[in-house]
């Protein structure tokens, strides 16, 4: 791992867990055990670092989605959507710090002033929603997903997924217990009522 990668990794953790306002560059330097100058060599200031963390997250999920699309086969669009929801939960588990950062208010506050931050957030959310939307389109074409569902179905499903992840992130309830019920509910929301009910395979 290069110094720059270490800084990004540690900054993601620190910013997610302490928040943008609370986490200082001095904290970060102490956290990784490098001089502050080393951090400033790679990132001009805290906002630049924060934006780099968001961009890095965006690249990570785009790569994860691409790898997922290239290595998985689905029986139809509905199956694809439900498997993708499972995959979103999986990556939310492995990228806990990044999703916590998305669930904090900081990024949205910075986005009010910073066009770059706004664009980064927009790209992250677009990636997350498009990932589901592709499956919904396939499902509407093959008849497994309700053709009457609007283009906003992907957004609706994503808000549910995001809420579920937030439930887990903040330790509100044991989401593992609700996991299969969630998948089943998503299936019932989108499935084509004209099609026979075939439960998704885990």
């Amino acid at each position: 791992m290069t110094n720059k990668e270490r800084i990004l990794y540690a900054a993601t953790r620190l910013l997610a867990q302490k928040g943008y306002k609370e986490a200082s560059m001095a904290d970060l330097a102490g956290f990784i055990g490098v001089a502050q100058g080393t951090i400033f060599y790679h990132f001009n200031n805290k906002e630049t670092l924060f934006l780099s963390v968001l961009k890095h997250f965006q690249k990570k999920i785009e790569k994860a989605f691409l790898d997922y699309e290239n290595t998985n086969k689905f029986s139809d669009g509905l199956d694809s959507l439900l498997q993708k929801i499972r995959f979103l939960f999986h990556i939310a588990g492995t990228m806990g710090d990044e999703f916590l950062l998305l669930h904090r208010h900081d990024a949205y506050e910075i986005a009010e002033e910073s066009r770059e931050c706004r664009r980064s957030l927009e790209r992250i959310y677009s990636s997350l929603v498009s990932f589901l939307e592709q499956a919904i389109k396939i499902g509407q074409a093959d008849g497994s997903i309700d053709p009457m569902q609007s283009r906003n179905t992907a957004l609706t499903i994503f808000t549910l997924v995001d809420g579920f992840i937030r439930f887990n992130t903040y330790g509100i309830y044991e989401t593992g217990v609700l996991y299969e019920d969630f998948i089943d509910s998503a299936r019932r929301i989108v499935r084509n009522p004209e099609q026979p009910c075939i439960k998704d395979v885990k």
Binding site: M1, R6, Y9, A10, R13, L14, Q17, K18, F31, I32, G33, R86, F89, H90, A92, G93, T94, G96, L100, N168, T169, Y170, G171, I172, Y173, E174, T175, G176, V177, L178, Y179, E180
Partner: protein, 289 residues
């Protein structure tokens, strides 16, 4: 039940040789990690490629929302505990041997280790590697052991004598002598099944079954049992704790094998408002100072 031995250790520390001698000299049944995994896959229809990764330090492929890795470990424990409860002398070789509780005193815990120099030279000879390649390989292999032991026993030393009944230096003791030492210790009274060690196996089996059912239904818990009395430990604090405990108790009430149970949390109700993600941030070893 009969006395058994769990054999763990470093790569290139003659474990294969010692096991082969033991199998020739005694009436043992060998149980490797792969044997256990294949049984789990067969009985529970769990994917073998996922089970194989359970012992690896790379946990990124497992779904944390459903505690997937720990669910597979509970399945492995259940199969292991069932084997222990049968009337066979087992030789349990590998990572799985570490899952057997210390209270099962008729299971002899054995560790084989050697000086790194000896192991590197042995690997170089067998695989025709350069010294640097061999050192790297041994280090990576040891790191897997460190991670596994750390996850189970809260120590960073996989060869810590406190974890074993016998720690044999493979570079100082020939394999035949190590095998003799194991057989000699297995015949001693301390390694014979007692009422208490038999009860420990039954508790291990009961706890594994319940842990498997609880994790399978999404509950993030650890389960222990003592003379049939079950303790469910919540691994994570949640805000809606009372609701969660009520749901767990509902499930436990429906399990007839349980004599009594207790649901405990490491976090008292007074601190339930403080969720774990707020704790002081720390970095994993590969990123740390």
């Amino acid at each position: 039940m009969k006395s058994s031995a769990g054999i763990f250790g470093g790569a290139y520390c003659n474990i294969g040789e010692v096991v082969a001698i033991l199998l020739r000299k005694g009436d043992f049944r060998l149980l490797t990690d792969m044997d256990i995994i294949e049984t789990v896959a067969h009985e529970h229809h769990s994917p073998i490629n996922r089970l194989e990764k359970v012992f690896s330090s790379d946990r990124s492929e497992f779904n944390r929302f459903i505690h997937e890795r720990r669910f597979y470990i509970a399945q492995i424990k259940q199969v292991l505990a069932r084997h222990l409860s049968e009337n066979e002398s087992l030789l349990i070789k590998g990572f799985g041997s570490q899952l057997i509780p210390r209270k099962v005193t008729h299971n002899l815990k054995v560790c084989l280790i050697a000086e790194p120099k000896h192991r590197v030279a042995k690997l170089q000879r067998s695989k025709n590697l350069s010294e640097d390649e061999a050192i790297g390989w041994i280090q990576r292999s040891d790191e897997e052991c460190v991670e596994w032991i750390r996850s189970l026993h809260q120590t960073n030393d996989p060869w810590d004598p406190a974890l074993y009944d016998i720690v044999a230096q493979a570079d100082q003791l020939p394999s035949a002598k190590v095998a003799d030492l194991i057989i000699e210790n297995l015949t001693r009274s301390a390694a014979q099944p007692t009422e208490s060690s038999v009860s420990a196996v039954n508790d291990f089996l009961l706890a594994a079954k319940i842990e498997m059912l609880m994790l399978g239904s999404g509950h993030d818990v650890q389960v222990t049992a003592e003379s049939g009395a079950v303790e469910i430990i919540l691994n994570r604090r949640v805000l809606m704790r009372d609701r969660l405990i009520a749901e767990i108790e509902d499930r436990l009430e429906k399990m007839p094998a349980i004599k009594s149970y207790r649901v405990v949390s490491e976090f008292s109700s007074s601190d339930s408002g403080r969720t774990s993600w707020i704790s002081e941030p720390s970095l994993p070893d590969h990123v740390g100072r």
